[in-house]
Symmetry: D2
Subunit: 150 residues, 4 copies
């Protein structure tokens, strides 16, 4: 499977995504004067968390209710343009694939409607007991389906 190719094919259908705003602070930048390349993974995780919270599924519930948690299996990040101190960025999150025990998200970072960073994040549902992949709870599956690009 090649995550990069998936990205290409879905680029035109972003309307179904959830939106999340990120302000760039000193902590996010580096001596190059731009947002440090690892920190986009923080931004997109915040967006995933807020998406789950919005639909009523905070982290704690996932653990308590279903004894599962989500882990990231792979991240693909394309850095298109830099972001700077004080920038107000937007993260758009869509789902490109929903499987039994995993889901692939496309999360774009935009600045004034221009795509600056493009990510594809594959997350998997694992049992808290033995860390093995398990079927996603149906509530979460439904949530991912709601932001799925068809």
């Amino acid at each position: 499977m090649c995550p990069r190719m998936e990205l290409k094919t879905v680029k035109k259908k972003l309307d179904f995504c959830t939106h999340y705003s990120v302000r760039v602070y000193y902590e996010d930048t580096d001596a190059g004067g731009v947002v440090y390349y690892a920190n986009y993974l923080k931004f997109v995780e915040r967006a995933r968390t807020e998406f789950l919270r919005e639909i009523g599924i905070p982290h704690e519930d996932i653990k308590k209710k279903w004894s599962v948690e989500f882990v990231v299996r792979s991240s693909l990040i394309d850095y298109i343009k830099p972001a700077f101190l004080d920038d107000l960025l937007e993260v758009r999150t869509c789902c490109v694939e929903v499987r039994g025990a995993s889901s692939t998200l496309k999360q774009e970072v935009l600045k004034e409607d221009t795509l600056i960073v493009d990510t594809t994040i594959k997350i998997a549902c694992i049992s808290m007991e033995n860390s093995r992949a398990v079927k996603m709870p149906s509530d979460i599956r439904v949530a991912f389906d709601r932001i799925k690009i068809t």
Copy 2:
């Protein structure tokens, strides 16, 4: 191009890589009890920096001598196993492709000789004047060629 497939094909020839050690501290971990997923990008950047320092090319020299700098164009990270507080990890860095203005590195994170995180990082050489892609200085090109997997 599918970075993941490239990774597969080169997996057998790691002997030419440079090695760099990373100790996991509290700062690197998260409430899941493991190394936070963004922090592997810190570890592999440290390894790239030390590789350049070892061959006599620190960041400052690149800027002063050639008026260029390196930026990351894309990162692909496969999370295979988690790492924990106090773990001693090793980062192995090889070069899988050297082009005129860019280079693709394969950087593996290992724990006791087991691969736990696999990354492919594409870096590009840009002019400090206008941020446009420019030809890599030949000293750096030679350095990348030295750790290239053929």
Copy 3:
């Protein structure tokens, strides 16, 4: 001067402070299951930045308009209670002292109205030309006076 004693004396007059909300994400926590101790300095810096933005003085303006910038001279942090993943925290920022070239802020982090972390941050205004302490621009001085505890 003993920052800790200052803190004690001003504890009763928090009503004039500015307020800023912080959500705790995985990136903020560590393997101890709590917010990592260095990260409170990120939270209070975000609050200082938003305070300046609210009153119409973003970072860029400070640099462009007056050729000065603010640096932190000292930080005192008292950790009273831990914060956890998904917590919604509040940062309250007051000014306890305004001098010619520096200002001392008291920044409290609260969770459901309970003080969990107490900080005293001394910031100084320096010239961008030679990094020497210079008199604060009067607009900023006025802003600090507005949140000053008398």
Copy 4:
């Protein structure tokens, strides 16, 4: 108690400290071109951890053997000079006070033998069962005494 005054009085006796080296990478810096002010707390924690490891007491042992852990109660940081990308810093750690359930450390960050950041960190020993302060295990007490300034 005023941590800052303690710092002043002990400044002359640094010979008994442990030493730990820190290289500054991009991840440590911010758009001001210097090490981000929160990150010195990461550096000094690494030094504390390595001190404990050196004397044979890694984090895991503390938890397993004695069912206690150490938490930071307060941090005082004086920023004297900035540090920059690629700097090689040294952290010197001494103990200024050892009590039954807590210890106060003085941790200095130096660059080429010049003091650039001065910290005083108070850590407390707590029970893992109920998070209450408990007497430090004597092995750790002895370790702190070894680096104590009298």
